[in-house]
Subunit: 632 residues, 2 copies
Amino acid sequence: MLAWLRRLILGSPLSNERAMHERLPKILALPIFASDALSSVAYATEEILLILVLAGTAVIDSRLLPAIAIAIVTLLAIVVTSYRQTIKAYPSGGGAYIVAKDNLGDYAGLTAGAALTIDYTLTVAVSIAAGVDAIISAFPALAPHRVPLCLALIGLVTVINLRGARESGLLFAMPTYIFVASAFTLIVVGLYRLATGGFTVAPPPLESIPHQTRMLGLFLILRAFSGGCTAMTGTEAISNAVQAFRPPESKNAATTLVTMAVILGTMFLGISYLAWAGHVIPMEQGTHGYETVISQIAKGVFGKIWFYYLIQGATAAILILAANTSYAGFPRLASIMARDRFMPRQFYNVGDRLVFTNGILFLTVLSAILIIVFKGIVNALIPLYAIGVFLSFTLSQYGMVKHAIRLKERGWNRSVLISGLGAVTTGIVTLVISITKFTGDKPLFTLPINGHVYTITAGAWIVILFIPLFSYVFMKIHNHYITLGNELRLTPEDKFKPINNIVLVLTPSLHRGVLPALEYAKGLSPDVRAVHIDTDPIDSRLLEERWETWGGGIPLVILESPYRSLVGPLLKYLEEVKRERPNSLVTVVIPEFVSTKWWHRLLHNQSGLLLKFMLLFRRDIVTANVRYYIQK
Amino acid sequence: MLAWLRRLILGSPLSNERAMHERLPKILALPIFASDALSSVAYATEEILLILVLAGTAVIDSRLLPAIAIAIVTLLAIVVTSYRQTIKAYPSGGGAYIVAKDNLGDYAGLTAGAALTIDYTLTVAVSIAAGVDAIISAFPALAPHRVPLCLALIGLVTVINLRGARESGLLFAMPTYIFVASAFTLIVVGLYRLATGGFTVAPPPLESIPHQTRMLGLFLILRAFSGGCTAMTGTEAISNAVQAFRPPESKNAATTLVTMAVILGTMFLGISYLAWAGHVIPMEQGTHGYETVISQIAKGVFGKIWFYYLIQGATAAILILAANTSYAGFPRLASIMARDRFMPRQFYNVGDRLVFTNGILFLTVLSAILIIVFKGIVNALIPLYAIGVFLSFTLSQYGMVKHAIRLKERGWNRSVLISGLGAVTTGIVTLVISITKFTGDKPLFTLPINGHVYTITAGAWIVILFIPLFSYVFMKIHNHYITLGNELRLTPEDKFKPINNIVLVLTPSLHRGVLPALEYAKGLSPDVRAVHIDTDPIDSRLLEERWETWGGGIPLVILESPYRSLVGPLLKYLEEVKRERPNSLVTVVIPEFVSTKWWHRLLHNQSGLLLKFMLLFRRDIVTANVRYYIQK
């Protein structure tokens, strides 16, 4: 029944030969690995505006927004140029972890691995939460069900991924393309409306505009820029997954990366421009009547017609699918790290649908925790995001600099220049994000110290704390595997030597239910002993008499038990036996009744079970249950 | 640690030789086995008054109460006279179960056994609940904590009983004697006060007097009589427990029985007379400001001085100890019924403190359920009570009639007369109780049928339902044991014959952790095979190469697994092996890692555990784990 249900939901098992067929053509790989990056436009512009509005609504109309958007697109161009080299240098999949480990050593690799793990988890949480925002913007009545909606969608993505990559590709291609098409339609029609008199965005309810007004200083501008950098999350997904492409893998992956970057840059610039030109004021998330920036623009440009709902639907769909990028990426990373013995080996194996089942489930659990802790609010999660992404960008590109210098292949100094530029800029951005987003706006918990109550906000500090923590755990895991491997390695000195085995059969009484256990034990070793614990002298006498006839020549040992306990005397006898024959293993054979009716179990002493449990943690004792099946 | 805690609460184990020393002298046996009967005076008078008041407060002042009390004491005299014969005829303990089974057959015995089981459980529930009432009467602030108080007291009595009979005797003698002494003081001083001008009982708050007034007919009078019959509960305890007395057991038990009856009869008459002469109006239980009849009398006679609190304390104490009577009685009954194979054999054995541990725990669970269902209200439990007691009286005495006629010993016709009178009167009382208490006053649940809502009250019908139900269960248990006994009995045709054993060792790879399992298996049987499931062709090739050196000559079987599953191929191979050698047992040896650190467990595939679980329910397969202890 369970197996049938599993098959229904996850599909039949797939054989090893099908692995090659699961490779993706570009037309499917783009939506799978680019949905994360492309979907960022759904929230990146809003994150910039949310910071700018802190300095007052007037700032929103200044040219800051377009300027920041252009800066971010320039950054994107630098990173993508640099990553094209990575894809060529690492055709078997060149994630930040591999590149950093290869060129900068284990510690840098683990830092990248930790950053990526956090990044993948946040991608799932942020994308799903933002997708739910798109739904709530169109249907405000759903607002109170934010967290359950998020969790249900994570569950959906999990099941789809457990089914396997190929099918998710087909399923995921459509909404991504619909999103891109509808976003471009929005931008084109929006620009046309601007040219022919502009469009009007409904002003948000007053209570949803942030109350504080701060001086617009460099810090706030950089903070707005940091928020916008979330547009670049997901860029690395393609370079991690070169192996999932059809041959020639590197070339196909590089082409897909550039295509993705062009689409992303255009959409981001277009939407930011519309937001700026349309005077969109962002709203505080989590408050009643919240609406996303995209929803405001779409409503302003089209009104609440069917096309508005199409845009919202496509946005929600691509955001949910963006979570899928992590499901395609993280299990692969975990498998590679498990191969290198930095993660538990369970992540290494492919499940019976040719997907990394354990990695998928692990990601689901972590991101569900994030959703619950942060109540599914994108704005609370964002300060944690991007820092992991940019840290891995930096490590990866610095690794590529070293790589180029080491190998000195044709055109290596050009490579050093490109990667170096990327490393330096992304390094600076990492620092900027760490500082400007160190604390966030959303309270996480309060801490009373000496009468004062401090409110701790969720910010980049959490990630800065967890990256070394994760790296430490990875190192501990590695040490365990290496130590264990050394301990277990067979050397020429290791010889196969048979073990002395003393077999004890627990014999409460002598009847047909015990005979099979005695017969079984007789064959196991020349040293078999039946052990009876004497709780009733009359029973013991009877047993001894009948032993002549049915005991099969096995010696019968009767253990005294003045306190009528079974466990004590047996353990004492086991100690004796071990002292008598120090280099032996002791096998305890326990006869067991199996009945066809459940309530029969209640009518028999479960002392066999108890004894088995007591012996479970003793050294050099093997227990074996020999079952007797009650017929009636 | 657990063992230490157990010893602290329950005491050290006691050896078999101490069993004789645990026998009780009369001076200790009286409080142990009579506390139930004696404590009944705490509620019996009140139960009569609660019915009489339904016909109006004037009825309380008529001579009905003294008349009913005298009728009950007469009944007590008849039953006790009859039971003295039982004690002499059954010196090894003549409970209703034994007497009925011996003389009237299995079915009558089982009916008595069921009636007694229900009776013992109700004794615990009623006594504890009435004890808590005595406490609440003195300290009304405790009223909201009725149920938790009841449960805590049941827990206390349980622990005391698990410690063993002797110690509970010493502990229980004092309060019983204090109760008897203080009750007699109350009666004497009360009578003196009546002779010198009377005493005044504070009138109860109006809202606690029952609202209904019914016609005083024969039914209501018989119902009041039925309520008063609860005074006789516990009378049979001594005859059940003759074996717990010091020799000469029968004589000591009979003397104790008569002593108990005289004390009980005197106290019941005295308190009923004081209640009548003092115009005490009973209160509805469960309402706020509830006070027991005894509390009202004591307050009227003495005022709220220290002696009042002494009486309430002693009443509470003896009622709690009355529950102990059941703890002394039921486990003995259950042990006897288990010996006769009507109850699970776990009830037969004596625990390491020489008490019937399982019987004690079973009684605790049942009575706790009663307390919770009936919210600890005595008045709700009473309609269920007494019927079981009187049914067992009747069966026991009818059995004694048959016994006397069968044996025809000297003076047998006198015996027939005495037992016959007892059987007839208690038989009539059983019928009276069944009819008058068939439905009770307290609603138990509601039943909507065809638009009407019927309120089902807790009454004798529950007991009338459960007695045949319990009897049926006892019969089913009996049949199981008898059938199984026949199935398991060894006959001369049963020969000891050694079993063919095929040993399979699960071998995921070859290292020091697997070697002990292989070495162990090699000794078990001439037919040992190492089984490797091929999830990775490279691993399998490597294993085959290394097998030459360390495989110890054991044949290596490699199972194909195109879907990378471990369970499927193994089960398939097991089927094959069984087909190949139909009359063999298969032993599956599973190597297992044991680590010193808990988190190491997370770093290893737990496939061994999974496989073991899958094999758990397969026929003719024995699993054995050979452990390797990781050193670092």
